[in-house]
């Protein structure tokens, strides 16, 4: 394939990765920003979303879009509820102590993963996309008769992949609106800025924490529901999103929504393009290197605000 169409294809693929990554990382960033909890089990909430999507899609007969639509609602809600329960029963009793919550969420990771293996099983199972039409994409080429439109072999995408990108953008706008334009968002931001002062102003901080933890997990689950018709639900699928989310959140700046989104796009696209033209290992090396550089030269992240 010629270089131009090839880059376009790699970018499209990278954009899908970036869209899903942005949603997942936003959840992680939100939890850390507001609660100061490093949630190691975040990838497992992602996986749980995909697995529940499979259960739901499996259980609903009729057009695949029905099952998928139901999964879009059910999976984030159920996963969010699981996360709220984990917050109330575990994290709250640890007083949100940073070190102890890390250990607790590691435990949560294994519990969720192994319970899924015991019940759902080791197979990778597909969920049918609600719609998926292949679209061939055109390319401009300068030939003997001037510029002309060609249809390169293999250059294409599916309507579903484009929809994933669109849906991610919409959800991210929604999260932004929630944080910036609503009362509950105001409470969250207040809690994030100063927990003590928020308490003094009678903000129910514990309820805000539970809500944020549920919301963060729900975002991961939603990302998983979007990706599961492309990849399959598998009990080990939570590892990569967790690692990449951390990379994104560190680069973008913890707690910064625009930073997270920008870093997700950067990492998603570069992963797509570098792994195609060089090697996937190099893409990972560069991402890790970037994390190192950011931590050394700009510890608060690209968009983060230095703590006072």
């Amino acid at each position: 394939m010629e270089i131009g169409p090839y880059i376009m294809l790699a970018s499209l693929e990278g954009a899908v990765t970036a869209a899903v990554l942005a949603l997942t990382a936003c959840g992680l960033s939100l939890v850390f920003g507001v609660m100061r909890v490093v949630n190691i089990a975040h990838g497992e909430f992602f996986m749980l979303g995909a697995v529940i999507a499979w259960w739901v899609a499996q259980g609903i007969a009729g057009h695949p879009a029905l099952g998928f639509a139901a999964a879009l609602v059910v999976a984030p809600v159920v996963v969010g509820a699981v996360a709220v329960a984990a917050d109330v029963t575990i994290l709250r009793h640890l007083d949100y102590d940073p070190e102890r919550t890390i250990v607790a969420t590691i435990g949560l990771l294994y519990i969720i993963q192994q319970l899924t293996l015991m019940t759902y099983g080791p197979e990778a199972r597909p969920v049918q996309a609600p719609f998926s039409t292949r679209i061939a994409l055109p390319w401009l080429e300068h030939g003997p008769e001037g510029w002309q439109v060609i249809w390169p072999w293999g250059l294409g995408t599916t309507t579903y992949k484009l929809a994933v990108i669109g849906a991610a953008v919409a959800v991210l706008l929604g999260v932004w609106a929630l944080m910036a334009r609503t009362r509950i968002g105001l409470l969250m931001r207040a809690t994030q800025m100063d927990r003590e002062m928020a308490l003094a102003f009678a903000i129910p901080v514990e309820r805000v924490y539970a809500l944020v933890f549920g919301l963060g997990a729900g975002l991961a689950a939603l990302a998983a529901v979007l990706i599961v018709p492309i990849q399959q639900a598998h009990y080990l699928m939570g590892g990569d999103p967790l690692l990449l989310s951390f990379v994104v959140v560190i680069i973008g700046g913890l707690g910064s929504l625009p930073g997270t989104v920008l870093a997700a796009v950067l990492i998603g696209l570069s992963d797509g393009i570098i792994s195609v033209f060089f090697s996937p290992t190099l893409a990972k090396i560069l991402a890790t290197l970037l994390v190192g550089l950011v931590l050394v030269f700009r510890p608060q992240g690209l968009f983060g605000v230095r703590a006072p």
């Binding site: 394939m1 169409p5 090839y6 294809l9 790699a10 693929e13 990278g14 899908v16 990765t17 695949p64 192994q114 293996l117 099983g121 080791p122 197979e123 990778a124 597909p126 049918q128 996309a129 998926s132 292949r134 061939a136 072999w153 293999g154 294409g156 599916t158 492309i230 990849q231 399959q232 598998h234 009990y235 080990l236 699928m237 990569d240 797509g272 792994s275 195609v276 996937p280 290992t281």
Partner: protein
């Protein structure tokens, strides 16, 4: 108020009676095993991929092993002793694999170890088995046994290796599908076997390998690799394994959009995946290697029928009680056949305990012909004692209306290649 602690209750008495009855019912079993010098069970350490990326295979390797062990015990065990399967999870991880082998030898007092599938785990575990002088029967398909890379205690008598599979099938590919081939394979030992041996076999047939695409084993998105497939490719040969395979096959279909090259794949790509899964429609008309045809064929042997019934697999290769639970039919027969090889060799060697491990290895090396039978339901086989590798027929199936229809069966001779090692010359 009653006090449940005192006296003999009627329920308690009934329980004791029932226990006694169960014991009495098993009396014939005691008699059956009693003529052995020792009634101690023969302990077979089963290294199983219960977790990790091999878990779907591990589940079915487990079911097949249990079924075969039960039959062996029902028929009187080995040398009059019952067989006990001691299963240990290795997490599909080479390091843990070596630890599991060690555990079999030192903690479980296993007589032999058996059952490993993924090639990197085999390569990680086999050296430890050799040091411990623990006979290690792998069910892996990798060429590492016959290549001479491992040791005298590692044997593969129940499943054929990649080198013989691709050598036997290359002529079919070049004669029927095309001579310009591009390979897509996972970037580790198993994939490298395919890359090296299939390339050589295709070139020996006058074909040409245009490109070799290595894909990292943990990859989850594949479209970005496909533009590297040269346009003049006539046959795309794909052998992906692991949880990402369904994505791989689907994205391949989306990429080519119905105007791509012929596809020739290894059923490994779709083990434990139903052929009617959404997104697989475009595989219609493509070809697959199958170790053992998953869908029952019109010329199904009585042995295949028997084997399916015992393992609990229906004519579509899925669990009888859950048609959505698709088996790893192309590979798992290896566990069944290996257990019967262990039985045959232990009986030939008059195996009594770990002191006879060396003579057990020699007894396996002495095996040559394995006829098509209930013990070898996949087909007749020839064992090469020098290379510790078994050889057998291979099948090529075509996808027709969502069914895998067998279109070609190679002879055993088609799969032979010159010996690369003589393990019998190495010390025991």
């Amino acid at each position: 108020m009653t006090n449940p602690k005192t006296g003999t209750t009627r329920r308690g008495a009934l329980k004791t009676l029932a226990g006694g009855a169960a014991g009495a019912a098993s009396l014939p079993l005691w008699a059956r095993f009693s003529h052995a010098q020792s009634a101690e069970p023969i302990r077979i350490g089963f290294q199983v991929h219960r977790t990790g990326i091999g878990a779907a295979y591990g589940r079915w390797y487990g079911r097949t092993t249990e079924a075969a062990a039960k039959l062996i015990n029902d028929a009187g065990g080995i040398n009059g002793r019952p067989v006990e399967i001691v299963a240990e999870d290795d997490g599909t991880d080479p390091k843990r694999g070596a630890e599991v082998v060690e555990k079999f030898a030192t903690q479980h007092n296993a007589d032999v170890a058996f059952g490993t599938l993924f090639s990197h785990v085999v390569i990680g575990s086999a050296p430890r088995a050799g040091e411990l002088k623990l006979p290690y029967f792998v069910v892996s398909e990798g060429h590492h046994v016959a290549s001479g890379m491992l040791n005298r205690y590692t044997l593969q008598p129940g499943i054929t290796d990649v080198k013989s599979q691709v050598k036997a099938m290359a002529p079919f590919v070049t004669e029927n599908l095309g001579k310009k081939v591009t390979l897509v394979f996972p970037d580790y030992a198993y994939g490298h076997d395919h890359r090296d041996f299939f390339s050589a076999a295709v070139e020996a047939q006058g074909g040409e390998v245009l490109a070799k695409l290595a894909i990292p084993p943990s990859e989850t998105s594949f479209t970005k690799y496909f533009p590297k497939i040269p346009r003049e490719t006539e046959v795309l040969y794909h052998v992906m394994v692991g949880p990402g395979v369904l994505t791989f096959v689907k994205e391949l279909g989306e990429f080519f959009g119905g105007r791509g090259p012929e596809l020739f794949g290894f059923i490994d790509s779709l083990e434990a995946v139903a052929m009617d899964s959404p997104g697989l429609e475009f595989l219609e008309g493509s070809h697959f290697w199958e170790g053992m045809p998953r869908h029952a064929q019109p010329d199904q042997s009585e042995f295949d029928k028997y084997y399916r019934a015992q393992v609990g697999v229906n004519d579509r290769g899925a669990a009888i009680n859950d048609p959505a639970d698709v088996s790893t039919y192309g590979h798992m027969f290896g566990c069944w056949e290996t257990l019967y090889v262990i039985k045959q060799a232990m009986e030939a060697a008059g195996y009594r305990g770990p002191q006879d491990r060396a003579s057990l290895v020699e007894a396996v090396e002495d095996i040559t012909v394995m006829p098509h039978s209930r013990e070898h339901p996949q087909g007749p086989k020839v064992f090469n004692g020098k290379t510790h590798q078994v050889f057998g027929q291979q099948h090529i199936s075509r996808v027709e209306n969502g069914n895998l229809v067998k279109v070609h069966t190679t002879s055993i001779e088609d799969t032979f290649y010159p010996d690369e090692v003589d393990y019998t010359k190495r010390p025991l």
